[in-house]
């Protein structure tokens, strides 16, 4: 039996406005458990702007700063600088942005912060579209997926942007992928990030049942299948060089159709489409294995 041991403290309270089976809410719950109560969360426009609750409420038991869509990394840098001036080096500054605020709109300020090696943890919870505004495609939306702006007849024709490669190219001290079906792995990575000085980047896959057109109870299963089909392998990169693969360990991988068939956003795919997706996955997987091999 695989058992999880999680810190007991709950820093995300109930009553939040996440949808049923919200992967983003669960990701926040784990991340705060790992980050601890001495944390300040910096939040640009994203689902969590809504989930946390309207003024004058917040479902987080740590300070939360709302900021503009493109400014998560730079606002977090500012908070960090203010704390440093006061001599507080203990408090963790955590930028928490969605895929829109990371892959697209916030990329410039994120790149700037990474280039300056600001001492922050930046977490992108990736639900693969602009979900709370009505499921519009983002740079994180997978190849051939349905969204309201890439309807079934013309699904998204570009593959998902490789945000990890972009961040690794900044040679930041720590970058990692994680997801909600591996809570112990996610928590370990946040704790690891906390122990390192400089810019730390976590790319967290957070299934969105309404946006992915899937039943809410499958949120964890989808996250698990994303790993097992190598759609979303879990790995870490130190100093832009040293790659470590965490999951999946099992060989051979499940075919990607196992993951796609549970989601309505892929229900229009033909066999050829699935094959094309499988090819992209295989290519990225082989590249990852090469990086792991070269760095060992």
């Amino acid at each position: 039996m695989r058992n999880f041991t999680l810190p007991a403290e709950e820093l995300m309270g109930s009553g939040h406005l996440g949808c049923q089976g919200c992967g983003g809410a669960l990701a926040m719950r784990y991340v705060l458990k790992a980050a601890g109560d001495n944390t300040i969360v910096v939040l640009p426009a994203c689902c969590w702007t809504i989930i946390a609750g309207p003024f004058p409420y917040s479902s987080l038991k740590v300070p939360l700063l709302h900021t503009a869509f493109e400014t998560a990394a730079v606002a977090a840098s500012g908070v960090r600088a203010a704390l440093d001036i006061q001599g507080d080096t203990e408090t963790t500054v955590l930028a928490w942005a969605g895929d829109g605020g990371t892959f697209d709109i916030g990329l410039q300020s994120l790149s700037g912060a990474a280039e300056r090696n600001e001492n922050i943890i930046y977490i992108c919870y990736d639900n693969e579209a602009y979900m709370n505004t009505g499921i519009q495609r983002s740079g994180a939306t997978p190849f051939l997926a349905w969204t309201t702006t890439t309807p079934e007849k013309t699904p998204k024709s570009e593959p998902k942007k490789d945000i990890m490669a972009i961040m690794v190219a900044h040679r930041i001290p720590y970058a990692a992928t994680a997801t909600i079906s591996y809570p112990d792995d996610l928590i370990r990575k946040v704790q690891r990030a906390k122990s390192i000085y400089g810019t730390k980047f976590l790319h967290v896959l957070a299934p969105c049942p309404p946006g992915w057109r899937a039943p809410s109870e499958l949120a964890i299963k989808l996250s698990r299948l994303a790993v097992h089909t190598r759609v979303f392998p879990l790995y870490e990169v130190e100093n832009g060089e040293r790659y470590t693969l965490n999951e999946p360990k099992e060989e051979p991988a499940l075919p990607v159709s196992e993951y796609l068939k549970l989601q309505g956003r892929f229900s229009h795919l033909t066999e050829n489409d699935v094959e094309a997706i499988q090819e992209i996955i295989e290519k990225r997987w082989q590249r990852l294995l090469r990086m792991v091999r070269e760095s060992s």
């Binding site: 039996m1 009553g15 609750g53 004058p56 409420y57 917040s58 809410s216 949120a219």
Partner: protein, 551 residues
């Protein structure tokens, strides 16, 4: 729960946008249309166990090295774990959910391990109500013993009448000691006697004691005389054949039986297999003649495999037509059979092939074509059909205080089925004496959905076996016990289907932090649970159900 904050004027508002309270005023439970509930299910193994042993809980205790507690849990449902761990056909393993993941748990070996590890333990004789009613049990096989145990535990004075010189019934007379060592049986009977059960051996009903008399002297009567009457072959020369049961009884009683070098066994059931394997151990070469094929043999598959393994030979699709004496030996005339249309039992009926006669020369013939109950001592009261008690007649008898169970009621069946009958009858007798009606048993759902994602493949620990070369020369037990390490490793493979073992998954995966964890148990905070269903989906052992919310 906090109340929502209401600003009645601009002056009450903070100078900048800061949060003043958490979101706990927002009862998201109102969004829910499916409600998760913790409802433990019955594990398929436990459901399949005729005795109803609480297998998941027992195996969980074994995996933690808590053998005494495991043994006491066995004894809540069964007084014979040492016997069952050896001779039961373990339908539990056939239903084990783990078989769809890698291999079923070795439940029988673990039951035997627990019984062996706790061989010296005794039941704690608890304070029981003192009851004045006396109950007579006729027959001390698995049904009679089990019934006696449960009645005595409840304070009744129980007397067991046994025709043989020692109690045990078929367990002692029919089952060879290489399957069930006698010290195991003796010990478990001794523990039943400790509850105050009186055994009167060498007392045969209808011969040494009269059924009418028992009826007068006792408040209730349980007839569990088994099925000891061997069916006839109805062929010329039948008198030259010994019945398989007579043979087994004699050998098991330590008498010398001369069956010569070559013995022919007629039949394909468990008695036939026991006869063949016993004959082998007496130095004879057994040949089993069966009129259908191996696939239709009624014997337990494992017994057939062991017989083959030890070198028993088989002649399938052959039926004897006559037995003659020839030159101090016996000549069995046979006819070749083929399978025709299915009969009432669903098995294809064997049909003789004309002109296919052949003969087999042998030193002895054992006939084992089935046994049936002999209830002639009850003939005045009982209607039977082919030796089986009619249900209507049984109902009438029960109202008068006479209960029939075990093989005497059903014809030859298994030890576990007889034990089930014994326990059910014990409760039926209690209800009869107290004038109670049978309560409606709650129907538990079976735990059939296992989330395999949380388990790691691990092969089944094989049961150690005595090498074949050492088997044919003695009656030593063929199966050996698991070691402590093997038992704990094997028990830890159990999925605990339907039984919460506080793995934390529901608490871990709740996106709404709506699972409350308090010392080893969980509850759902329905004020906030949105009914997403993740907890039910990720529970590895189907303890959580989703039910529709009443609107």
């Amino acid at each position: 729960m906090r109340k929502p904050i209401v600003f009645t004027s601009e002056r009450e508002m903070p100078p900048m946008a800061v949060s003043l309270a958490d979101m706990s005023h927002n009862r998201t439970g109102g969004w829910r249309y499916m409600r998760p509930i913790y409802s433990e299910k019955i594990a398929p193994c436990k459901n399949a166990c005729p005795v109803g042993n609480d297998i998941p809980r027992i195996l969980s205790l074994v995996s933690e090295g808590r053998y005494e507690e495991a043994w006491r849990l066995f004894r809540q449902t069964s007084p014979l774990p040492g016997v069952c761990g050896r001779v039961c056909y373990h339908p539990c393993e056939t239903r084990c959910n783990r078989k769809d993941f890698d291999e079923a748990l070795s439940i029988a070996s673990l039951e035997r391990f627990v019984a062996d590890a706790c061989f010296d333990l005794e039941d704690k004789i608890s304070d029981r109500p003192k009851r004045s009613e006396k109950i007579a049990i006729v027959g001390s096989g698995p049904a009679g013993l089990t019934c006696a145990y449960f009645l005595a535990k409840d304070g009744y004075a129980v007397t067991v009448f046994e025709a043989a010189s020692q109690p045990g019934g078929m367990l002692r007379l029919g089952i060879p000691s290489y399957r069930l060592p006698r010290e195991v049986l003796d010990r478990e009977i001794e523990l039943i006697a400790r509850w105050g059960v009186e055994f009167r051996t060498n007392t045969k009903i209808g011969q040494d004691i009269d059924i009418e008399k028992l009826w007068e002297q006792y408040d209730a009567l349980f007839v569990a005389t088994g099925a000891h009457h061997s069916r006839a072959l109805s062929i010329p020369g039948e008198e030259f054949a010994l019945t398989g049961l007579e043979f087994l009884k004699a050998v098991n009683a330590g008498q010398t039986v001369n069956i010569g070098k070559r013995t022919l066994i007629i039949g394909g059931g468990n008695t036939a297999m026991d006869c063949a394997r016993t004959a082998l151990r007496l130095g004879a070469q057994p040949l089993v003649v069966y009129r259908r094929t191996r696939a239709e043999m009624p014997a337990i598959a494992e017994e057939i495999e062991e017989a083959e393994h030890e070198g028993v030979q088989f002649e399938f699709l052959a039926a004897p037509t006559a037995i003659c004496r020839r030159d101090g030996k016996l000549e069995v005339h046979c006819v070749r059979m083929q399978l025709g249309e299915p009969d009432r039992s669903g098995r294809r009926r064997p049909v003789p092939i004309p002109g296919s006669d052949f003969r087999i020369l042998t030193d002895s013939v054992l006939k084992a074509v089935g046994e049936e109950p002999d209830l002639s001592f009850l003939s005045e009261h009982l209607e039977t059909s082919e030796g089986i008690v009619m249900e209507r007649a049984q109902g009438l008898l029960e109202r008068a205080g006479i209960f029939i169970g075990g093989d005497a009621q059903t014809g030859p069946s298994t030890v576990a089925q007889a034990m089930r009958s014994g326990r059910e009858t014990a409760y039926a007798i209690m209800r009869f004496l107290r004038g109670e009606r049978k309560p409606k048993a709650p129907q538990l759902d079976e735990a059939l959905r296992v989330n395999f994602s949380y388990f790691v493949h691990k092969p089944r620990v094989p049961t150690p076996q005595l090498p074949v070369s050492e088997r044919t020369s003695s009656f030593a037990e063929t199966k050996r016990a698991l070691s402590v390490d093997q038992a704990r490793t094997e028990a830890s493979r159990c999925f605990s289907c339907g039984v919460c073992n506080t793995c934390d998954n529901c608490w871990v995966f709740c996106p709404d932090a709506a699972i409350v964890r308090t010392n080893g148990s969980y509850s759902v905070n329905y004020d906030f649970c949105k009914g997403c269903g993740v907890c039910a989906e990720e529970c590895p052992r189907s303890v959580i159900s989703l039910v529709e919310e009443e609107l």
